[in-house]
Amino acid sequence: MEPHSSLPSATRPTVTMRGVVKRYGKLEVLSGLDLDIACGEKLALIGPSGSGKSTLLRILMGLEDIDAGTIEAFGKPMWTATPNGAAAAPKPELARLRRRFGMVFQHFNLFPHMTVMRNLTEAPIHVLGMPEGEATQRARELLSGVGLADKADARPAQLSGGQKQRVAIARAVAMAPEVMLFDEVTSALDPEVVGEVLDVLRELARTSGMTMLLVTHEMGFAREFSDRVVFMDGGKVIESGPPEQVFEAPAEDRTREFLSRVL
């Protein structure tokens, strides 16, 4: 794969994680994870369940604290190492960084009491201060982009699972994040609607310069979608590389073993 040498951002990754440790009680979910994410990269995170993939996304979104290690995003520290473990950056700084991340959840988490339109305009109006007309206009474009232009006035409960997830993607994109985190976004869907959500992701990957991190169990899609595949196991990155390499000639035994089970 062509290195990002032509990009000025290549000198500095968008996200740098070093020695990240995350524990839930006695259970260690991340055990000294190192990962660099380049600007604009489309990254697929694969690995057995419990390997810490979703936790990694949740940490970047600020939904989870970490116990040790350092994380830098956009050249600014999110977590720094101290003798007593990891220390978070000051809250205002974290809030500024948080705006540059977006997340799509496995269970959509749409606001059920709002119309689809309101789901898409709530944050642009009240966080970005966008005028309502502009936010609505933009939301209409995003809804057409995911094939749901006619659902603006519907409530989430009136939509199918696939439609809900497309709305959730549009809602996250409406905030124009620089890094988008997709947490098993097709795992809660009926098999027959998985395709429509993957189509939206494919289109997004093709047309937007956003950095995208995708946690998925859809190996075929991971391969097609990503510039780089990261295989995680036991809370660490075991191997990462271009999809052809990881899927066809994995360097590590654990990767090979995992792929032989899921492919």
């Binding site: 997340m103 959840f105 959509f108 988490n109 606001f111 944050a123 905030m175």
Partner: protein, 222 residues
């Protein structure tokens, strides 16, 4: 000579207007008392969830004390102690405040249950969209939490209505007090007490119908 009927309908008819006017006092106490309980209870519920323990702990204690002591004692406390502190209110105003404070300890619990019933994913989605804490409460959490608990709040409305006779103890001329005054003046207690019992019954049953309607209306929201 025909024996005097046990229940004197004529006397009952005669005192009805006076009791109905006392009913307006009772209703006023409940409406304002409940309004206060709804607002104050929400404030308790929100403050108790404050991440600052210096706020949440004392609030929890206060709510616990209010809920665990009798309303009658609280009413006496307000009625006799507030004037000593230089605050003199009418008996009705004192009663409204007493009912409002007492029932706020129940409504606080109801709101808490409603808030906890909102799935964690809603908080996470609001967080991921960078909504401020205030906006998250106002636009995401409370609009989902409150409709769920409207029927329960309605039941407390009825409970408060049935607690209003306690206001007689602090000289509010509500239904019970008025019935006792009539009884003492006419040496007949059967009719006034029966009538106010009937009034409580009718209004409670009607209010239950309203709560039942609210349950059907909000039970299946979204």
């Amino acid at each position: 000579m025909t024996p005097k009927p046990i229940f004197d309908w004529q006397f009952a008819w005669h005192i009805l207007p006076q009791l109905l006017s006392a009913l307006t006092v009772t209703v006023e106490a409940v409406v304002f008392g409940m309004a206060m309980a709804l607002v104050l209870g929400l404030a308790w519920a929100l403050l108790r969830r404050s991440p600052r323990k210096l706020i949440s702990r004392p609030i929890s204690l206060v709510v616990e004390v209010i809920r665990s002591t009798p309303l009658l004692i609280q009413l006496y406390f307000l009625y006799f102690v507030l004037p000593e502190a230089g605050i003199t209110l009418s008996p009705l105003a004192t009663g409204i405040i007493g009912l409002g404070i007492h029932y706020s300890s129940y409504t606080a619990e109801v709101y808490r249950a409603g808030i906890e019933a909102v799935p964690r994913g809603q908080w996470e989605a609001a967080w991921a969209l960078s909504l401020s804490p205030a906006r998250t409460w106002r636009a995401v959490i409370l609009p989902q939490a409150i409709p769920r608990v409207v029927p329960v709040l309605g039941n407390y409305f009825i409970a408060m209505f049935k607690d209003t006779p306690l206001l007689a103890a602090i000289t509010v001329a509500e239904l019970l007090k008025t019935a006792k005054i009539i009884g003492a003046a006419e040496f007949r207690y059967l009719e006034p007490l029966t009538l106010i019992g009937a009034l409580f019954l009718v209004i409670s049953l009607l209010a239950s119908q309203v709560v039942g309607f609210l349950e059907r209306r909000y039970g299946t929201s979204f």
